[in-house]
């Protein structure tokens, strides 16, 4: 699961260092990239991520994204 989430993120933006734990808070992910990651995750895992789940806590790291995806898979 982790590899798949990471691969999805890298496909959206290969230049971002996804090992960071402050992807949103640290300003690495801007809103456009965040929208693209959310929509890609929905597509790849065939899930619906509600808008309220799009918070810095859920997208600050790959691990937090994995946890989020697992909730909806």
């Amino acid at each position: 699961m982790r590899e798949k989430v990471l691969a999805t993120c890298l496909e959206v933006s290969p230049s971002i260092d996804f090992s960071s734990n402050e992807l949103v808070d640290g300003g690495l992910l801007d809103s456009v990239t965040l929208v693209e990651i959310v929509t890609e995750l929905m597509d790849v895992f065939d899930i619906e991520i509600p808008y309220e789940e799009v918070t810095p806590e859920n997208f600050n790291s790959i691990d937090s994204m994995v946890k989020l995806v697992e909730k909806y898979v």
Binding site: V38, T39, M42, E48, P50, Y51, E52, V54, T55, K71
Partner: protein, 543 residues
């Protein structure tokens, strides 16, 4: 005895007839008394109640009926937020022991119930707002009492309705999405909602942040108070020396554009852009300064917008809180809507990659810009204005690869100052062209402006003195130009990250006071208070 009663009545009527707008002397007296008592109060609760009292007095000045509508709206928001909050508390209790997936399913049930409260409250807020907007569109008179309204003499327009409607809807959505906790104390919510520095023309505050600040109001601090007063002074300079001066010329041109041509129109369009900036950002400095004096940080609404390199960047620096609101509550929810995402993916799978990319960029943007246009005004001019920005941004995004190719072919160094200056000039031009849609109040007026712009050049008006015969004489033109140059220099320093207030604070005492007195005298001597002066009119106060 009767004469005493008569005198008291006369005095009361006199005071009540005064205008309580940020740029009136009466407001400064109100603010002085308000702040003196504010700093005398030591307890948090007393300060909070005093802010509420001051805000209610300020608001009631615009009409008791309007105050009633605002407080009724506040009560609806409070009840809906509390109801949603209590539902979510129920969910938190029930979810214990369930797997994450079961929790998600359970939460959806609770969310459905919460949605009813959210939609009811939003419907009521929007109904009042749309009613006011429709009334303005039909050019109905604005009345102050319910009896006048019932008898059909006009509509009640609550002060700052467009601002508090957005803030309250944002707060309700935050509670619904569990991004904010519902406030338990209704008086605190009223205080934040009616807070007099932000209710008239923003900034559109996030109630969550304001509520937190209200719970931790700091005591008097000399440096903070000085900084706040300096910011207010700067705001008054921008508003009363620059904006109120420029509007004399621009209004003369835009009220009868058919009498002007060429350079006169060009100058009016450029000056009206500067006028709007000086007016609106000046007001933001005044209200930001008042809040700073009290120890409350309002959200920034301007960040040197005319130094933006693109139209997209411009809207992250101009009316920032409106842009942030539309992004958070319109753009992102649409862009991330699962059904919309599925639709665009389907297009991509069907081999329509460009179509899919266009829809992804265009649909959320058109929603944002139609809303922004209608928020500013209900006429076709504002709808076209919104479409103009939407098309511009979509084209900019879609054509970026082509633009990048041209730049590389022409070997243009985008890091060079000349290119960056060109980008800023281009942004200013884009904004000024956008202003032409709305500045005369109708699309036909905009067509006249374009027609007259190229009808004849009239360059001689710059030299034969006729430019100064439209209400703003030569001396006042020069004062306005000097003000614009100073405003530009200040913006350049801010852009370079320099704090002018810190630099002033570092000066020796006599120099500091020379600057303060200079600024105050400049406002007193050069501020516009002529016969046509209308102290109540801030450009964005009309929304």
């Amino acid at each position: 005895m009767q004469s005493l009663i008569y005198k008291i009545r006369y005095l009361t009527d006199g005071i009540l007839s005064l205008t309580l707008s940020y740029n009136t002397f009466f407001f400064l007296i109100f603010l002085f008394v308000f702040l003196c008592i504010y700093f005398l109060l030591r307890k948090q609760k007393a300060k909070q109640i005093w802010i509420l009292f001051g805000s209610v007095v300020f608001y009631a000045w615009s009409g008791l009926a309007a105050l009633f509508i605002v407080l009724a709206t506040g009560s609806i928001v409070y009840l809906a937020a509390r109801k949603m909050g209590s539902l979510y508390v129920g969910y938190e209790k029930e979810k214990e022991g369930l797997s994450p997936k079961e929790q998600t399913v359970l939460f959806m049930d609770y969310k459905k119930k919460a949605k009813k409260y959210l939609l009811t409250a939003m419907f009521l807020i929007l109904a009042v707002w749309i009613y006011v907007k429709a009334g303005k569109l039909l050019e109905l008179d604005s009345v102050a009492t319910f009896s006048e309204w019932i008898s059909g003499r006009g509509i009640i327009v609550p002060l700052g309705i467009s601002y508090y409607s957005l803030s309250t809807i944002g707060y309700l959505l935050d509670v619904f999405w569990r991004k904010a906790k519902p406030e338990k104390n209704i008086l605190k919510l009223f205080t934040v909602m009616t807070y007099f520095p932000h209710i008239v023309q923003g900034p559109i505050s996030k109630y969550d942040s304001m509520l937190k600040q209200l719970s931790d109001l700091p005591q008097y601090d000399y440096k903070r108070v000085c900084f706040g007063l300096q910011l207010m002074l700067w705001g008054y300079i921008k508003k009363m020396i620059i904006a109120d001066r420029l509007i004399i010329y621009t209004q003369a041109v835009f009220t009868s554009p058919e009498q002007f041509a060429g350079v006169e129109i060009f100058l009016a369009v450029v000056l009206c852009t500067i006028q709007l900036y000086a007016d609106f950002s000046g007001c933001m400095d005044i209200v930001g300064g008042i809040s700073q004096v009290m120890g409350i940080k309002l959200a920034d609404n301007f960040r040197q917008p005319f130094f933006s390199k693109s139209a997209t960047e411009f809207w992250t620096r101009w009316h920032i809180t409106l842009g942030a609101w539309t992004k958070e509550y319109i753009y992102l929810p649409i862009a991330m809507n699962p059904k919309f995402v599925k639709y665009t993916k389907q297009l991509k799978k069907n081999g329509k990659a460009w179509h899919s990319s266009f829809m992804k960029a265009f649909v959320p943007l058109i929603a944002v810009w139609l809303f922004t246009g209608l928020w500013h005004g209900t006429g076709w001019d504002y709808i076209v204005w919104g479409l103009y920005w939407c098309i511009l941004m979509t084209v900019a995004k879609e054509a970026k690869p082509i633009g990048d190719k041209i730049i590389s072919l022409l070997k243009i160094n985008t890091e060079k100052p000349y290119y960056q200056i060109w980008q800023s000039v281009r942004t200013c031009m884009i904004f000024a062209i956008g202003r032409m849609f709305t500045v005369t109040g109708a699309l036909t007026g905009c067509a006249v402006l374009w027609k007259r712009l190229f009808a004849e050049h009239r360059l001689w008006t710059l030299f034969d003195g006729s430019l100064y015969s439209h209400g703003l004489d030569q001396k006042n033109f020069y004062v306005a130009l000097l003000g614009i140059v100073i405003m530009l220099l200040v913006d350049i320093m801010h852009e370079k990250g320099k704090s002018i207030r810190q630099s002033i604070a570092a000066q020796p005492l006599p120099i500091r006071w020379i600057i303060y007195y200079g600024a105050m005298f400049a406002i007193v001597i050069l501020g516009m208070y002529g016969p046509g002066y209308d102290a109540s009119s801030f450009a964005y106060g009309a929304f």
